[in-house]
Amino acid sequence: MKGTLILALLSLWNRRGTALLTACSIALSVALLWGVLQVRDGARSGFAATVSGVDLIVGPRTGPLNLLLYSIFQAGEPTSSVSRASFELVARHPDVAWALPLSLGDSHRGFRVLGTTPDYFLHYRHGRRQVLLFAEGRAFAAHGELVIGATVARVLGYQPGTEAVLAHGLGEGSFAEHEETFRVVGVLAPTGTPLDRLVMADLDDLAHLHGAEQSTSLTAFLVGMKERPALLTMQRALNDYRGEALTAIIPGVALSDLWRLVGVADRAMLALSFCVLLAGLVGMTSTLLAALSERRRELAILRSVGARPLNLLGLLMLEAGALSLVGALMGLLTGRLLVAAFAAELEARLGILLEPALLDSTSAAILCGVTAAGLLAGLLPGLAAYRRSLADGLSMRT
């Protein structure tokens, strides 16, 4: 066994050109599989971290997913609103640390406008409890000031000082009943969350746009508690509140419900990368099979010095196993190098958090699995060598 392994390695080294190419094809498929697994985990935790540090999202009586979608992801339409009075009541509650009003309904050149208060930039967290950072400028403070997300700045080419006309209603080119010119004072750093696509202004400032002194109704509001234990009591109290029909949800719970819906895509990706790995192994098998006809002499020599057909089967299997092991190691290394190079970019642009450990159980499982699969795949050329050595005997016909 040990002798056969050494022979296998030396023989592979003798054909190192094709062997390296074969190992590379395995390496690429392993890198892809590992990458997909990483991105999957990263996307899940990134998704769960779309909003963090917020204990409760409170909106009108509606479904939890619906409330989450329009308050955090700015997807879909709120069907009704929450009164300012309820918000004030919660905000003044002794257990509540802070409360942020959210008012949606306006848009600017296709991007939604969020009306809130400057406190938003103090309390809102995303990712691993990261605070919102300004790439340029500052938070809005006075009348007619705007803060924009990173994507908005990139797409529209806005920077602090740019003047923007806000219109009532959603969607590009919506009828501008009320128009007012605002000025951009801050651009947020990329977060990889829907926040990047928001235009933010003061709640009451936007109310002026609609001809009101102060906003009287809100789309929803976010609540941070002083003590976590009070959270469930508060949630129950809000859901049972008689003054107004409210829904209070815990973001983490709602987010994982939502992930269960959108997670189908990543299972498809995973299946696909397993197929790529399979293709890599099939490629290796066919390369080894094709090389057999050039190696007839080698096999005949081994046979003539006493190697049994089973030894040849073992030789080919060990070759395939060694190629797969080397390929898997190369693939895992490549994957890590790629992640090291692009992790920051992925997190900023797509909100995917990648933080691979040097040797995690996933890598170990891939390493063992791919090597075992490779050994098994070597059965095919191994059996071919076995059969051929029986048929060829010791003759050196080439």
């Binding site: 006493g306 190697a307 049994r308 089973l310």
Partner: protein, 234 residues
């Protein structure tokens, strides 16, 4: 394990059913005998060597090597018996390009315990001794990649391998056909001498009749063949 080195009786062999390439009613090679087997190419020499080596099985008849009939052994035992008792030597390219000269010569002891035991305590020393006896010595030569050796040197290394661990039978299939005249004669005399020293029986196959001079006996394949050989039976 007694009896002649090779004993063939009533052998019939063909690659396809109905074909009869070889038909040998009786043929024997005694222990220690050096036999030159002559036959033109395509006459079934390689098949005969496959049959003698127990790699091919005849349709009828029996082949005994050192008294053991191949047909009585299961395939795995045949492999072991062959590895233990027969050394092979082929036309050319006998060496594995990825092994050094010494490791190439040592290949049989990887697979045969018996031949390793017969090498004594140090198979590598035995390999060096055989190589030196066949005119291959010197650190520079032994450490050179085998592909860089001349054909004559490669064939001598192959001969050393066939003789390592003193197998009772050495089967050589046109081992000199790739050599020029001068190295051919030198090779042949070295091979004969070493076979004599280790007491091995030598079955040497070639189409070049003029090489037969130093052998104990010359046999022609066509003389050995019974009348029905080469015909296709319906």
């Amino acid at each position: 394990m007694d009896g002649p080195a090779i004993e063939i009786s009533k052998l019939r062999f063909g690659w396809k059913s109905g074909e009869c390439l070889l038909a040998i009613d009786g043929f024997a090679v005694g222990r220690g005998e050096r036999v030159f087997l002559h036959g033109p190419s395509g006459s079934g020499k390689s098949s005969l060597l496959g049959l003698v080596g127990g790699v091919l099985m005849p349709q009828a008849g029996e082949i005994r090597v050192l008294g053991q009939a191949w047909g009585e052994l299961p395939a795995s035992r045949r492999d072991r018996f062959r590895g233990d008792h027969i050394g092979f030597l082929f036309q050319q390219f006998n060496l594995l390009p990825y092994l050094g000269l010494i490791d190439n010569v040592l290949l049989p002891v990887r697979y045969s315990k018996l031949r390793r035991q017969r090498c004594g305590t140090a198979p590598e020393a035995e390999a060096r001794r055989l190589l030196a006896a066949l005119g291959l010595a010197g650190k520079a030569l032994l450490s050179r990649p085998v592909a860089e050796l001349s054909v004559g040197q490669q064939q001598r290394a192959a001969a050393a391998r066939a003789l390592l661990g003193r197998p009772e039978l050495v089967v050589a299939d046109e081992p000199t056909s790739a050599l020029d005249e001068e190295s051919r004669d030198a090779f042949l005399s070295l091979l004969m001498q070493q076979c004599g020293e280790s007491g091995a029986t030598l079955l040497f196959v070639s189409h070049e009749r003029r090489l037969a001079a130093g052998f104990d006996r010359t046999v022609s394949l066509s003389q050995m063949q019974a009348a029905e050989a080469g015909t296709v039976q319906s």
